[in-house]
Chain length 244, copies 3
Amino acid sequence: MIVFLTDFGLSGPYLGQVQAVLARHAPGVANINLFADLPPFNARVAAYLLAAYSQEFAAGTVFLCVVDPSVGSTRRPLAVQADDRWFVGPDNGMLEIVARRAQQTQRWAITYSPSRLSASFHGRDLFAPVAAQLARGLPVPGEPLPESGVFGEAWPDDLYEIVYIDHYGNSITGVRANVLEKSARLLVKGQELAYARTFSEAAAGEPFWYENANGLVEIALKEASAACEMNLKVGVPIGLAQAD
Amino acid sequence: MIVFLTDFGLSGPYLGQVQAVLARHAPGVANINLFADLPPFNARVAAYLLAAYSQEFAAGTVFLCVVDPSVGSTRRPLAVQADDRWFVGPDNGMLEIVARRAQQTQRWAITYSPSRLSASFHGRDLFAPVAAQLARGLPVPGEPLPESGVFGEAWPDDLYEIVYIDHYGNSITGVRANVLEKSARLLVKGQELAYARTFSEAAAGEPFWYENANGLVEIALKEASAACEMNLKVGVPIGLAQAD
Amino acid sequence: MIVFLTDFGLSGPYLGQVQAVLARHAPGVANINLFADLPPFNARVAAYLLAAYSQEFAAGTVFLCVVDPSVGSTRRPLAVQADDRWFVGPDNGMLEIVARRAQQTQRWAITYSPSRLSASFHGRDLFAPVAAQLARGLPVPGEPLPESGVFGEAWPDDLYEIVYIDHYGNSITGVRANVLEKSARLLVKGQELAYARTFSEAAAGEPFWYENANGLVEIALKEASAACEMNLKVGVPIGLAQAD
């Protein structure tokens, strides 16, 4: 299975163009758009989402990871094997949190040189064909890299920020819920939020935090938009209130 | 074929996560997103859309129906066989209009207990695996239920409200066109609308009603947005003007 | 492979309904949504996008082309073979630029008469089944047409207008980049834009034009929205500044 995460957005031709390349280069392999609308140009928040949302996929899954504002520059194309999953994307940190959390990793600088390489669409021309090759079980077309000196090495283990706002206005953070006590109170835009196990247990009109279905701390409001009510955006910082 | 209807929205990871589960549990079975952006938290309007839009699908099709604001509470997961199609979703009325219009129905309370069951995402963890099982021809993992006492029993046969507004601003109602005479005039926001067979027969600038391609009464404006011009929203009531 | 271009939009049931027909009539054939959100009702801009974006697809690909505001009128359904690719859609000019640029073309008036033909959704009821037939290698269900007198014959070879605005605000024109010198300066809304090879070479805050990954002139702004900053919309005219 090939799983695609990008900031290309849902509209326009880009998703379809990438899917067509995958269908041609890895016929019969299922391909899934996981995130098509990651926050634009933001490899850092993408790194924390990728680390959380890739865990439910089976061994052998190939993640095609394209948040790539520096496309056309000299940034390197990477392939990373993290435990038993594969990750293909630019060398801008997007792949580093998932790599850091893995037991075993191996990195390659991709050396594949496609016959057509546009200046602005390496997702289609370079990363997708490489992801297709890996999904077919072929070797990485690249050269091994050392484990050190990677972009994003200094990023924190958990990101105390809003990293994604969904269709309902639920606001996902880059913090793993298992690093917090359930008694913890979040401090967001000056407001203190308590924990609730699920929406149906939360009080109407009162924002709360819960562990979302992928293990991240998420800020929500029952049958309403926490993002609208609290004016949350990607990048808004999350704090912890002092215990009484 | 598995056909998915939900209010998850197009953006974010949810559609992809469900599709990945379907691809894994029912490999080779086509899966289609029919409605990804049903009106949020509204099982009632979803019920009328499901009843109208499921009819064009072949016998054996499995509909995965997830408008589920009470996820994590004690609401029951259901499987319904209505004539020769299958419907899987929560016990909140979403499946009841299609069941009511069927010649034969059978209901089950799903008893499948997945190894991982998040508090907030039964679409992925419970309903999708069950839909996949049914699509593969396996028996319902559940217990038969009586036909009476179902949620939504008191809902009307046709819903005289706007139930969905599409990309063009065309506004779909919950009324089957074959219950109206073509001479009927609709009363919507104080305005009377006449029938037209098709867009190309309608006068520019004049809103009209027509029978849409799935048999529902729909309010439209030629090459313009009826929803914008008439300020229509989901839930706006539809009346019938008195005959002269 | 069947490739779908339409103005149906991403939301609502229409894409899924068409995909379900394709899956039923051409099982096992990959189908891709290339453009789901072409500018509404605008067959003219669609013609230039189709001509540019169809070129990367393999011989034998079938393009299902549905921008069809006159559905239900007497406009004819067409099939066009342009070199080694197939195009199916209404006789409103959408297929004419790709045909004009081909070495060899052949046109047919489709005579296929489906058992169910709604007045407003020929994309699902007529064009999709015909596209599926062609993708399976079956003959065109239609009658040959002469090459002359086609709708859109008077349209220019390149369209000096904005034809699409993407998710990032990049604004695609209907002009092929290879008809311009790299020294050309575009005149857009009174502003002169110079060429840059790629985003990473452009200066921040300064809109530029470049050759996009499908050979069209595109107006962009590094990590920002050219459409928002310059108030660009589909239809805005593009000029060429006088050389000094």
